[in-house]
């Protein structure tokens, strides 16, 4: 790997001058410029980003912290982020927490060390320590999916999306609607969606049996188990079931089919996420499209803006959702 000095020597100029043509800064006479260009061309020289970063404090790298790398949500999000970022010459440094909250903290630190120009954090959870860590981070940072006051956020409208789903059931004449959620420590998916469900039910004067509300852990298997519990323990069997993710819904469908229920005749069902499988289960699953790719793009735009203008006031963007009504209701 050649260095700027060698290029300078070969072109009989100083490093400074080479640097100038490299960065299009300051004046360089036409022939000197051409001479240098030629040498650069011939040697295939490219300046070291590290040396550059060391001086300029800029890296053109954005750290992206994900809870789980191989989910549809994550990959759509990253696709959206990359779409905007690559256009602006930034690259993504991945950080996968694998749902380990400790790692969120670690990675924020690590990304600081690597001097990334910005961080996009997809949080599943907000706790005191995380907020502290975020607050003492001087790098522009934006959080997707959970609300953190001090920084910019891109949020899904979990509360209203949940209400919309329940409202749909009610329109279709359902009154006994049960719910498969996740732990409420996940504010967005766990708490807000549940609140939406409860509020919508309450507003319509519908009662909710305790056993109608079950919890899973984001996978198909736990959706199956939750559904089983609802069916086995409820004195009054519901006619509709709202699962907070598509995977949970698919698990529920699996259980229902196994027990001979007809969907949607015996039991209507809906999820959230618009995952690809939601189209292919039988019957196709009613769900909510959160447009993760759009979220990724929005986050990336916000971040770049914040990097380039260097301004601080946090912005909050709440994204639209689309209710996808399909044959499962």
């Amino acid at each position: 790997m050649a260095t700027i000095k060698e290029i300078a020597d070969m072109a009989n100029v100083s490093r400074t001058t080479v640097s100038r043509v490299l960065n299009d800064s300051g004046y360089v006479s036409k022939d000197v410029r051409q001479r240098i260009m030629k040498v650069i061309e011939e040697t295939g020289y490219v300046p070291s980003e590290h040396a550059k970063s060391l001086r300029t404090k800029k890296t053109k790298v954005i750290g992206v912290i994900l809870p789980k790398i191989s989910t549809e949500t994550s990959s759509r999000l990253v696709a959206g982020i990359d779409d905007i970022l690559s256009e602006k010459g930034y690259q993504i440094l991945l950080a996968n927490t694998n749902l380990d909250q400790e790692k969120e903290l670690e990675f924020i630190k690590l990304l600081k060390v690597r001097q990334v120009d910005g961080i996009i954090l997809t949080a599943t959870n907000v706790n005191e320590r995380l907020v502290q860590q975020i607050n003492k981070t001087d790098i522009p940072l934006i959080v997707i999916g959970q609300e953190v006051d001090s920084v910019s956020n891109v949020l899904y409208d979990d509360y209203h999306a949940a209400r919309a789903v329940v409202s749909l059931f009610i329109q279709k004449g359902h009154e006994a609607i049960s719910f498969i959620g996740v732990d409420e420590s996940d504010v967005a998916v766990g708490h807000l969606r549940k609140k939406g469900y409860i509020d919508e039910m309450t507003q319509h004067g519908l009662t909710v049996e305790d056993t109608w509300i079950q919890k899973g852990i984001f996978d198909i298997e736990s959706g199956y188990e939750a559904m089983k519990k609802i069916i086995e323990t409820s004195t009054h069997t519901p006619t509709a079931i709202f699962a907070v993710t598509d995977r949970l819904a698919v698990g529920a469908i699996n259980y229902l089919k196994e027990k001979g229920y007809q969907i949607p005749e015996d039991m209507a069902i809906a999820g959230i996420g618009a995952s690809e499988i939601s189209q292919y289960v039988n019957p196709p699953l009613t769900t909510v499209d959160y447009q993760n790719e759009a979220a990724g793009k929005a986050a990336a735009k916000l971040l770049i803006e914040s990097i380039e203008t260097n301004k601080k006031e946090p912005k909050k963007i709440t994204l639209d959702y689309r209710l996808l009504v399909r044959d499962s209701v």
Copy 2:
């Protein structure tokens, strides 16, 4: 951001000494070490990776070049790679070509500039220029999914997997088996799978009508179109259809259902990829599991080995595949 010098001053020692405790190299007396530790603790100091990289020429970053970021294959692959890499303290710098071959070249360059310790390239295609670029890259590089002589490869056994699928059809009594492929410039998916199909047919003395072989472009839509062409243009309608990817197969299924064909009674069908939707289409799709996550792991291991031992001879790993026989045949 504090620097090593400030820490040194605060602890009344030289930078060298601080560096020593940071890297656990050389001797440092117990109390000096503790004094330094304390200062580091209090200030929350972390050494700059850039300055470090500039000296050591190591970055603990691996560049991963992907053809498309938001596919199941990619995300599984990345999950596998990350699994191994993170364990060894490496991070992933993402490079998404979006199927633009030009970008593969660009990114190899860019990753060099960023001095990544190694590169994992998921290639869809091998052309002269790419091989050249790869050869003049001094950074350890491994290619997944396509064979490139000069470097280590992790390969799927496309040829035998294809034969296995066709062989399955033949066992089930099919003789008129048609094929939906992709362009053969993609050696692995396009060429080898087709060759496997042809060879297996030939070996069993089965003939193939020209119209039985159609091409798509990796999406569901084009699978639909290809299937349509086969049905509409063949004088002798086949009884089985082998699609080189699950998505193509799903497209084909959509067409067949639309036209009232019963699967597998009127038409058997199989794909490759073991994508999640393959389980949920109706009927569940027979497919081949390539275990992308294992491929990612294998690639990461190979790469780390090559980085740490600094040895050159390229290794070739061909992964196993598993035929997943489901109701579509």
